[in-house]
Amino acid sequence: MLPITHFLYLAFALFLIGAAGVLLRRNILIVLMSIELMLNAANIVLVTFSRMWGNTDGQVLAMITIAVAAAEAAVGLAIVVSIFRARTGTDIDDLALLRD
């Protein structure tokens, strides 16, 4: 039996990598991918605790998270398309439209 903490370390590492991608990268597509990474890390934690307690509720919650992530990606990419039409670029530092 694998130690449960190692799965949590994996989830922690993936979340850190995703957070670093959101904070450090300026390409909006890669920022969206990093958000998917962080959602995946949350899913790993849910499934790990579901296994630990022998309780399937965590897996159902993880499925709901996957659905939310899919909807978020669809809307996020639609926003990217409309931004790209208006500004010709995917650099998020150019997006100060709301401030002006």
Partner: protein, 232 residues
């Protein structure tokens, strides 16, 4: 070190390395492919946690649907990639190492996933390991039956709410991604008055302006490099 531990550390290393590659690539297409590799490794970790149905869903939804969406958007946007990796000639050893590790990792993933899918859909209930932690008389832990029973009883409201949210997301995505010209055309076809259209910022340069506004000169706008005026 047991085989299970060996598999876990292999897949955990795959997940972390591909996640690092995802956020460090300059070309978004390459990053998307690395993200698919991360999702596959995470799905294999789900298998090690006896969440076999969730692993199948992860592959179908993330690696199947969502990545296609990402790659299509990148294709439509025609993003300018400035990666120089394509122009660098790799050495022979690097090439052998690259393709060798690709084959090993792909073999691992295929082995676990094909085994899981066979177990999930061809002979459900054959998983002794899952049965060991299952309640007596209940379906095996983490199978489609187990998750489905919970999803359609205890979490029925969440399930219905998710379907509503997906509908809202589809409509929202279509509305947000429409182009300015399509919105102009729709406003004209729906019988909005020219004044209302101008107030909403939906005038077309082809529309004659009636009320002594700035007279339309013959300037229909060069197809500018920055797309439309972006003033919405």
């Amino acid at each position: 070190m047991t085989g299970e531990q060996l598999m876990f550390y292999a897949f955990a290393a795959m997940a972390v390395v591909s996640a690092l590659a995802t956020i460090s690539r300059r070309n978004p297409v390459v990053a998307a492919v690395w993200l698919v590799a991360t999702f596959f490794a995470v799905a294999c970790c789900y298998v090690l946690l006896n969440a076999t149905f969730l692993a199948a869903i992860q592959i179908l939804v993330y690696a199947g649907a969502m990545m296609v969406l990402f790659v299509f958007v990148i294709m439509v946007l025609d993003v300018d990639e400035r990666g120089r990796a394509e122009h660098r000639r790799p050495s022979r050893i690097a090439k052998v190492g690259y393709y060798g590790s690709l084959v090993v990792a792909g073999g691992f993933v295929a082995w676990v996933l094909v085994g899981t899918l066979a177990r999930q859909f061809l002979m459900p209930g054959a998983d002794l390991h899952a049965r060991a932690i299952a309640r007596p008389g209940a379906p095996p832990f983490g199978s489609a039956e187990d998750v489905g029973q919970l999803l359609f009883t205890k979490y029925l409201f969440a399930f219905e709410a998710i379907s509503l949210m997906l509908l809202a997301a589809v409509i929202g995505a279509v509305v947000v991604a429409r182009s300015h010209r399509e919105r102009e055309k729709e406003a004209a076809n729906s019988g909005m008055s020219p004044e209302a259209r101008r107030a909403a910022g939906l005038t077309s340069p082809l529309d004659p302006l009636q009320d002594g506004g700035p007279t339309p000169v013959g300037d229909f706008g060069e197809p500018s490099a920055t797309g439309h005026d972006g003033g919405n």
